[in-house]
């Protein structure tokens, strides 16, 4: 088996890169959430941050990198799903020796991932490739949030989308470390706890803006 096949195409290689892309995407989400929460600091702060982010010289490069990261993560997810589907055989009766929500989340990563992908497509079209309202000659991203979430239906869909993302992360974050070979009697339980905490923070954090707009609009 060649080096390339061992490192990228073996079962463990695929899991490894799934873990790498997963952790990096979690870092992006952490950054994205932090930027989002500046929304609550007011119009100037939020629009100022948006403007300064747009001034980053290597922005196109970062965007391409991010797109590649998502692409690889999604591609691996689909490949692994079909790998696994062809490996298993159906039982007449399904039982489990585990329980709890974590098991449900871990067994349904492909579906929570698929919903997140649909959500992402709509989200990017709505927030990235859309007309941004202007305020004093500057792009008013703060106002864009109000404009977008004035549609109750879209706001609810957005909240549902981030809730599903939270479920995906609740398993994914700690699972990624396992796929990178990390397992420790002290740190692994901590990572599991962190994973659950991160899911709650991501879910509540991203949903806070549409909820705020919904309440304020009402």
């Amino acid at each position: 088996m060649s080096w390339f096949r061992r490192v990228f195409l073996s079962s463990i290689g695929k899991k490894f890169w799934m873990g790498v892309t997963g952790v990096l995407l979690c870092l992006f989400i952490a950054f994205h959430l932090t930027a989002n929460l500046v929304f609550f600091l007011g119009k100037e702060a939020y629009n100022g941050l948006s403007a300064s982010l747009e001034k980053i010289p290597i922005l196109p490069l970062l965007e391409v990198g991010l797109f590649a990261l998502f692409g690889l993560h999604i591609l691996l997810g689909i490949v692994l799903y079909f790998d696994n589907r062809s490996s298993r055989d159906r039982y007449a009766v399904y039982g489990t020796k585990l329980g709890g929500f974590g098991t449900w989340a871990s067994k349904n990563m492909i579906w929570t991932g698929a919903i997140v992908l649909i959500y992402l497509g709509i989200h990017v079209r709505r927030f990235v490739f859309s007309e941004v309202p202007e305020l004093n000659g500057h792009a008013d991203y703060h106002g864009l949030n109000f404009e977008v979430f004035s549609s109750t239906l879209y706001a609810l869909w957005y909240i549902f989308g981030v809730a599903v993302l939270a479920v995906h992360i609740s398993h994914g974050f700690q699972s990624a470390f396992r796929s990178l070979g990390v397992n420790h009697p002290v740190y692994t339980p901590f990572l599991e706890w962190l994973s659950a905490a991160a899911a709650v923070v991501v879910g509540v954090g991203f949903a806070s803006i549409p909820i705020y707009v919904l309440i304020k609009g009402a």
Binding site: R6, V7, A92, K97, R178
Partner: protein
């Protein structure tokens, strides 16, 4: 106890199987699950029917021959036990018990509840051994290693290769089995010589057999009769990643033989 059994009957590898219901009237709660199946077979033989084929050997929970999916749980409802050590007192009078063989593409059904687990043998052949001169067994405590390492190696070596991990995994992944087999040698001095080749070859063999990929569900750990832990899978990852990255293709090829 009166029990209704729904047993998977399949007359051959290529045949279509189905669940057949049998009623047993006087099952003793002290019987083991396999003794209960022996009783069922006695009834079937007296009736002139084909007995149910199922695998067993030691009936002490140490050989890894028996393995049944009982109501969708590998080795039944009790943790850390094999089917032969599962007693009927874990079931109630009037229960319906669905009994199926291990199901995975890597474990084709031979007949009824018996599956072909030679995929595991081929994985072991690929690297689950140490090449040392045979002779007298050295005293366990004569090897100068940390007790912690000896304990971890022993925990991994407790794997009996029954296949419950594959059977219970939603992805039919054999990584707990292979992880245990790689770990037991990686932790000991005797395993160092072939360490790189073992990781590369056993994982390659596992992939060839068409087992799935671990997604950290941990169903395997929960159904393992020997309580092998997931940490063995992570150790296998580390072994394989190190072996894959560290060695230039030519060296790895040479190491892998």
């Amino acid at each position: 106890m009166k029990l209704t059994l729904k047993v998977w009957r399949q007359s051959g590898p290529k045949e279509k199987g189905r669940l057949v219901a049998y009623v047993l009237d006087d099952v003793s709660p002290d019987q083991s699950f396999l003794e209960m199946l022996d009783d069922l077979n006695r009834v079937l033989v007296l009736k002139g029917e084909e007995p149910v084929v199922f695998e067993h050997d030691c009936r002490e929970g140490i050989c890894g021959c028996c393995g049944l999916m009982i109501n969708g749980q590998a080795h039944g409802p009790v943790r850390g036990t094999t089917v032969c050590q599962l007693h009927m007192r874990n079931f109630k009078d009037g229960d319906t018990i669905v009994i199926e063989p291990w199901r995975a593409k890597g474990f084709p059904v031979i007949k009824d509840l018996m599956v072909d687990r030679s995929a595991f043998d081929r994985i072991i052949e690929a690297g689950g051994y140490v090449s040392v001169n045979t002779g007298g067994i050295p005293d366990a405590n004569a090897i100068p290693i940390r007790k912690e390492d000896a304990d971890l190696a022993m925990d991994a070596a407790a794997c009996i290769g029954c296949g419950a991990c594959v059977a219970s995994c939603p992805n039919a992944s054999a990584m707990l089995f292979v992880g245990a087999k790689i770990s037991q040698y990686a932790l000991l001095p005797q395993g160092q010589v072939e360490r790189v080749a073992r990781a590369l070859n056993m994982v390659a063999a596992m992939d060839r057999e068409g087992f799935g990929n671990c997604s950290n569900v941990a169903e395997c750990e929960a159904s393992c009769p020997k309580l092998i832990t997931l940490s063995n899978i992570q150790r296998m990852y580390r072994e394989h990643v190190k072996a894959s990255w560290k060695y230039a293709p030519r060296e790895a090829r040479e190491a892998a033989g």
